[in-house]
């Protein structure tokens, strides 16, 4: 007898996009379905920066959901992405995070691959001294690592297994694509990276990134120094099929209002000043007055500009209740020393120890823990109405609703 899987008996709340049921963050079998329908389905997963593979024969390892992947630049300079799985017994081909070699050999039985992921050598294929080996008609290539379609969009590498995934620019949508190009305006240089292990489902991190409402309420550092307040000019643009968004803030507008003080908001603490204000010394390097832009692409990519701190973040699910957030910070290849120093100083704002981002790792975990016994209850996502649309106000949850619109479409929920 077949017991129906938990997620097949689940129903989305009748309110639709304004409710997110907590079972989406909890069900084990839903996680397995997400791997197939989303990560191995018609979506583009961010794989890294073109600049991480600067030299011929550079390769790195990463993940598309649970699927381990190798991204490589071959000797001719061409980029490839393929499954990090040997055709023979399924072992990882590359163990390290990055390397440089002409070919890749599986350590288990020394089967070898070129940097496009083609099987080029089977050890002792013809046996030894006429004995052993594979039959002549054997086709080990039939289990070769799957190749991903790879898109290099202005230095951002995306991969997909599905033939049906639309071209990357179409997938992003024209407005989001323009905001990607705004940051990726010239060749970049990697400054370094680290990972943050989050005690929550991967979608809670996306929820958090797309939640423009929380930024100046949870992140007190922002508000106290008047870097970002919801009364500043800015907005949120939702693109693609709802799963992509950009939120942005313009400098020097609306920071003297007293809406927060009047509303008695916790984060409106005054009289707090930096002893070393050089931390926040920034230049308008893109020249459009936008001091902060957070851009997210479904299912797991974030492009960040916080003043002069530029970074990409990769959201990698590690089971139902655990997520790895991979941060890679970068500057432009043309940066002078002063600009590099500025970016490194401003990196204090971001990451697991970031003045304005450390709370995110905790807050998403609080939801995972808070909703643990309430799979059939739901969160309320009704700020700014009930639809998915771009808006001039960030007291809004439109991009969160967009995320769930895209998620439900991919999952058939």
């Amino acid at each position: 007898m077949n017991t129906p899987l938990a997620s097949e008996t689940r129903c989305w709340p009748v309110e639709g996009l304004t409710r997110v049921p907590y079972w989406v963050y909890q069900d084990e079998d839903l996680y397995a379905r997400e791997q197939e329908a989303i990560f191995r389905g018609a979506t583009w997963t961010f794989l890294g920066l073109d600049a991480e593979l600067a030299r011929p024969c550079d390769w790195k390892t990463t993940f598309v959901g649970d699927l381990p992947v190798v991204v490589a630049r071959d000797a001719a300079g061409e980029l490839h992405a393929f499954e990090n799985r040997c055709a023979h017994r399924g072992a990882l081909l590359c163990l390290k995070g990055h390397g440089n070699s002409n070919e890749i050999a599986c350590i288990y039985h020394n089967w070898t691959y070129d940097l496009a992921g083609n099987l080029i050598g089977v050890a002792f294929r013809r046996g030894l001294r006429g004995q052993g080996g594979m039959p002549a008609e054997a086709k080990p290539e039939s289990q070769a690592p799957r190749k991903l379609r790879l898109a290099n969009y202005h230095g951002l590498l995306f991969g997909t297994l599905a033939a049906s995934t639309p071209p990357i620019e179409e997938y992003l949508g024209p407005e989001i694509a323009a905001r990607v190009r705004r940051v990726m305006k010239e060749p970049v240089k990697v400054l370094g990276g680290y990972s943050q292990m989050l005690p929550n489902n991967w979608k809670l991190y996306l929820d958090n990134v797309k939640d423009t409402y929380h930024a100046s309420l949870l992140h007190l550092f922002f508000t106290t120094f008047r870097i970002n307040r919801l009364s500043q000019d800015g907005g949120v643009i939702v693109g693609g099929d709802g799963g992509n968004h950009v939120s942005y803030t313009l400098m020097n507008t609306g920071t003297r209002g007293d809406e927060y003080e009047q509303a008695g908001v916790r984060s409106a603490r005054d009289g707090y000043r930096l002893e070393a204000p050089e931390l926040l010394e920034a230049v308008d390097e893109i020249g459009d007055g936008i001091t902060l832009q957070i851009l997210a692409v479904f299912p797991g990519f974030v492009l960040q500009q916080i003043m002069n701190s530029l970074a990409v973040r990769q959201v990698i699910p590690k089971g139902v209740g655990r997520t790895e957030l991979v941060w890679t910070c970068f500057g432009y290849a043309s940066d002078d020393e002063a600009m590099i120093a500025r970016r490194l100083r401003q990196a204090n704002l971001i990451g697991p120890a970031g003045f304005i981002s450390m709370e995110d790792g905790a807050a998403t975990g609080f939801v995972q823990r808070g909703a643990a016994g309430a799979p059939d209850r739901a969160s309320v996502v009704e700020m700014g109405g009930r639809d998915v649309a771009s808006d001039g106000s960030r007291v809004n949850e439109t991009s969160v609703r967009g995320l769930w619109q895209a998620y439900r479409r991919h999952m058939g929920l």
Binding site: G97, V190, L191, G192, G193, Y194, S195, Q196, M197, L198, P199, L218, L220, F221, T224, R269, Y272, L274, E275, A276, L279, E324, C329, I340, L344, R345, A347, N348, G351, P352, A353, F355, M358, E359, G361, A362, G365
Partner: protein, 160 residues
């Protein structure tokens, strides 16, 4: 090579006082372990090996360190937690009359308010020490905290 016992003890004493200050939640004392223009970095062994300059935390002065303590006390929101440092294998090398270099190993257990203990961090302290700093005691001119792992669990609030 003969061990300079007085120097060894002096450096180990500085390392011990530093760890006690953090583990006892005396964070306001943390910047005082540095010279006024002292450098502090938390980074990963991987970033160091690859010659990548990014740090998870960086400060170039006591003032920047005081700002971080002030933010931790008044602005940032995180669950109550404490550290317990273990420091070992301290190697000391005198650079000149005024300064020494030290490398030591550390492990830090993070204890959450609800009781969960986790091996939160391990790595090396790479220190340059001014032997006679303010008040006649040794101070860090530079302390690089090189984490063995590139993964940080949840968040890193309290300095290491």
């Amino acid at each position: 090579m003969a061990v300079d016992i007085a120097l060894q003890l002096e450096v180990e004493h500085l390392l011990a006082r530093y760890a006690h200050a953090i583990d006892d939640d005396r964070l306001e004392a943390w910047p005082e372990f540095f010279t006024a223009t002292g450098r502090y970095r938390i980074t990963t062994a991987e970033n160091l090996e690859r010659g990548l300059p990014l740090a998870i935390v960086s400060a170039d002065s006591r003032a920047m360190m005081r700002d971080r303590v002030s933010a931790l006390r008044h602005a940032n929101i995180y669950e109550a937690q404490r550290y317990r440092h273990g420091i070992s294998s301290t190697l000391v090398e005198r650079l000149d009359d005024a300064t020494a270099r030290a490398v030591s190993h550390f492990t830090v257990v993070r204890i959450m308010h609800a009781g969960e203990s986790l091996l939160f961090a391990s790595g090396r302290y790479l220190d340059r020490i001014r032997l006679i700093g303010d008040g006649g005691v040794p101070q860090f001119e530079e302390r690089i905290v090189a984490l063995d792992s590139r993964q940080i669990d949840t968040l890193l609030a309290i300095p290491l």
